[in-house]
């Protein structure tokens, strides 16, 4: 039965996070952007809202609400509205926790999930991207080889969110003799393992509070049970889908922020004797921004709902991500254009939003819905 009705719990969590995003994230966005750092007190405050532990089953000490990519997408959109960079930083551990809930073995869940149910904030992350321009998950070159005691992983991972602070991470590597994505698996890799070197990246155009890191893995020896899932490990398609939905949800939040910020400005800014909002060239840009914010949101919802029912582990998320990527960056860019020179200087958030939108729509592992 087709319905767009959120549950009461979903509406409540959206309201709560919208308030948090506006009051706590938005005012700190600029400083976090310029200093390449998410303030610990903001991340601690976000942690205390229980976002990460919400869907961890009670058996492992979590909130025990049903795992829902849709609820996560709603939360990410609400937080992304305040600041996509800080929102992604606040959700960074979702990159580790949600794949573990979805794909982890019982033993893996017991070992790791309780870490994320306490009051103390824990950072864990996911290493997906690599150095090659032509990289995509099916072309992963980081290799995991079996040996007598387990696995040996070698490769270089790039743009790993908050890699420097993480005390655990998932590393995506080619593990099986199967072509393309079928041979790719995720591994639980403690960053303090021998052979792992984490260094800061040179910097990035956007989402700078994520503190992107470079992770070198040199013959890193891991136990057999470090492969995510049972036996030969879990198909990572569901993981990729939840990453696509997560990134897209953040981008919807950012796009809405841009649109809502541009509307009052266009009504105030006078040119040629009237507010620029009364000129169709500007009014139609705003109308298109509104139209696409709607369309993008429903695409994310549909993909998330399909993920939750298990009816689709690839296509809906790919379509949603493709759609959002094309529209979100356009909205951020048009938002800047409406402000003209004021959009280009760093007093206002427009230029930051364009940089963040560019990062959100190209980096594929920022948040797991």
């Amino acid at each position: 039965m087709i319905s767009f009705e959120l549950s009461e719990e979903q509406s409540q969590v959206c309201d709560m996070l919208s308030g948090f995003a506006t009051n706590e994230l938005a005012p700190r966005a600029r400083e976090a952007d310029e200093t390449y750092a998410a303030p610990a007190n903001v991340l601690d405050a976000a942690w205390s809202l229980g976002l990460i532990g919400l869907a961890i089953p009670e058996a492992y000490g979590g909130g025990g609400t049903p795992r829902s990519a849709l609820t996560n997408a709603l939360m990410l959109e609400a937080m992304g509205y305040g600041c996509a960079g800080l929102a992604a930083a606040a959700f960074v551990s979702s990159l580790f926790v949600n794949p573990l809930i979805d794909l982890g073995s019982e033993e893996q869940k017991l070992r790791h999930l309780p870490d994320f149910c306490g009051e103390e904030r824990r950072v864990a992350t996911l290493a997906l991207h690599e150095t090659a321009f032509a990289f995509d998950p099916a072309r992963t070159t980081t290799r995991a080889e079996r040996d007598r005691s387990g696995w040996r992983i070698t490769g270089t991972k790039r743009l790993v969110p908050m890699g420097g602070e993480a005390d655990n991470m998932l590393v995506v590597a080619r593990a099986l003799d199967m072509p393309g994505i079928d041979g790719i698996r995720a591994f639980i890799v403690p960053p303090d393992a021998s052979g792992v070197t984490v260094t800061p990246e040179s910097g990035s155009i956007g989402l700078t509070p994520m503190g992107f890191s470079r992770v070198e893995l040199a013959e890193v020896a891991l136990p057999t049970n470090s492969i995510l899932g049972e036996g030969d490990g879990a198909d990572i398609r569901p993981l990729l889908a939840s990453l696509r939905i997560g990134g897209a949800a953040l981008a919807v939040g950012l796009s809405r922020a841009v649109t809502d910020f541009a509307i009052p400005y266009a009504k105030e800014r006078v040119a040629f004797g009237e507010p620029i909002a009364k000129k169709q060239s500007i009014a139609f840009m705003l109308a298109d921004m509104h139209i696409e914010c709607d369309a993008m949101r429903w695409m994310v919802w549909k993909a998330a709902a399909a993920f939750d029912t298990g009816s689709d582990i690839s296509k809906a998320a790919i379509l949603a991500q493709n759609y959002v990527n094309r529209r979100a960056v356009r909205i951020a860019d048009d938002g800047l254009q409406i402000f003209g020179g004021h959009g280009y200087i760093r007093d206002l958030p427009l230029e930051m939003w364009l940089r963040n939108a560019r990062a959100l729509t190209i980096h594929n592992a920022l948040a797991a819905a």
Binding site: M1, I2, S3, F4, E5, L6, S7, Q10, L70, A134, F135, D136, P137, A138, R139, G180, I181, D182, R237, T259, I263, A266, K267, A277, K278, Q280, A283, F284, L286, A287, D288, H290, I291, D294, A295, M296, W298, M299, W301, K302, A305, A306, T309, S311, S314, K315, I318, L319, A320, N322, Y323, R326
Partner: protein
């Protein structure tokens, strides 16, 4: 709960809609090439398909709301390059009569197929600029003016005509009148020749001292509001019908894009060009990438229609969302079939294949029921808090 799945009942209905639409495919080219002919009330094949109204029995709590289903039905029908096996007994004028007519008027004329005459040679989107006039003379209204682009204007039994009773009153002076075929002074001037939707007749009318009884004023309110901002009851009544007609029209345009997309996807698959969902951006050809983007765009437009319909089905206001849906439907009806033709290459030009007709038939969606630009005006006014006078 957010849900995009269809119940078994929903699926059954859509499957039978698809089967019916498929049966109408064999007539598509004939009526495209014989524009002067009007579709029969029913084709022989119609017997195999009972009216959709009889089939659409809903189980609350499980099945999708009827109005949302209407959108999906429209979409599935238009995704086939066919003609309707039976002609709808009602047209746009009926929607206006239902929205703004008195009970007595609905009883008298509701059973007739009524067209809607708004557009004039000199006034399209700017409806308040219409010149057709109505003057009260004794107990009769005297209508004078020209109307064009009247959908179903040939086959209808009568039409609702927008005319002004006071040009100085602007929108407030615009009233709607019912004029039946055969009324002296009401002339069917011609049937238009069009890029597409040729099986749907489009008429031009002339009204020359055309007299109708006083009670043919829809809604019966003869007063003229003093302030231009308001608009008459019948004017507003018609605008209200847009909240349901715009998503429906959008669904039709999306259907054309969907039909073109399905054709392109399936024919290319036969020749070995298939989107692999595991492939990354470097492993996908530009044709495959276009198919991915086209499918995403169709999906997005569809969801805006479903959203507008969902609001309507709950009795919630959807003025803004109806325009969002119409803007998206109008966009994809153009870019969808265009891209389907691009990926199919030169043979898509040929009448051997339906894609070129999807383009021609779909293209109207961004024009009628408010152009894409009018939708953007409606949306911009809503989000900026401007009146129609403040943003033109």
């Amino acid at each position: 709960m957010v849900d995009f799945t269809l119940s078994d009942n929903d699926k059954d209905i859509l499957e039978s809609v698809a089967a019916e639409a498929k049966a109408g495919e064999k007539y598509a080219r004939y009526y495209d090439e014989h524009e002067d002919e009007t579709l029969p009330k029913a084709f022989p094949e119609a017997k195999a398909f009972p009216s959709i109204l009889e089939r659409i029995r809903r189980q609350p709590g499980n099945d999708t709301a009827p109005f949302i289903m209407q959108m999906l039905i429209k979409l599935e029908r238009e995704a086939h390059n066919g003609v309707p096996l039976r002609q709808a007994p009602a047209a746009l004028g009926n929607a206006a009569l239902n929205a703004a007519g008195t009970q007595d008027q609905k009883t008298r004329w509701g059973h007739l197929m009524l067209a809607m005459s708004i557009t004039e040679p000199g006034a399209g989107s700017d409806t308040k600029a219409i010149q057709t006039s109505a003057r009260l003379d004794g107990d009769e209204w005297v209508l004078n003016g020209d109307k064009i682009f009247v959908t179903n204007g040939v086959r209808c039994a009568g039409t609702i005509v927008w005319a002004t009773v006071s040009k100085s009153a602007g929108r407030g002076g615009i009233k709607s009148f019912l004029v039946l075929k055969g009324t002296p002074g009401f002339e069917l001037v011609r049937k238009e020749k069009k890029l597409g939707i040729r099986s749907s007749d489009t008429a031009a009318y002339a009204f020359r001292d055309c007299r109708v009884p006083r009670d043919h004023l829809i809604g019966g309110d003869e007063s003229v509001p003093r302030h231009d901002g308001e608009g008459s009851a019948s004017y507003k009544g018609v605008l209200k019908t847009f909240n349901t007609t715009r998503p429906t029209v959008a669904a039709g345009g999306i259907g054309k894009a969907l039909g073109a997309f399905r054709y392109a996807r399936d024919r290319l698959a036969e020749e070995g060009v298939v989107v692999c969902w595991d492939d990354g951006r470097c492993d996908r050809s530009s044709v495959e990438q276009t198919l991915v983007e086209l499918e995403a765009d169709i999906e997005a437009a569809t969801l805006t229609v479903l959203r507008a319909a969902w609001l309507a089905s709950r009795g919630q206001s959807n003025n803004l969302e109806a325009s969002v849906a119409k803007a998206k439907g109008g966009e994809i009806c153009r870019s969808g079939p265009q891209r389907a033709m691009e990926v199919l290459g030169a043979m898509s030009l040929s009448h051997d294949h339906p894609v070129e007709q999807y383009l021609r038939d779909g293209r109207i969606t961004d024009i009628y029921e408010g152009t894409g630009q009018i939708q953007r005006l409606v949306i911009a006014r809503a989000i900026l808090g401007y009146s129609s006078a403040e943003l033109t």
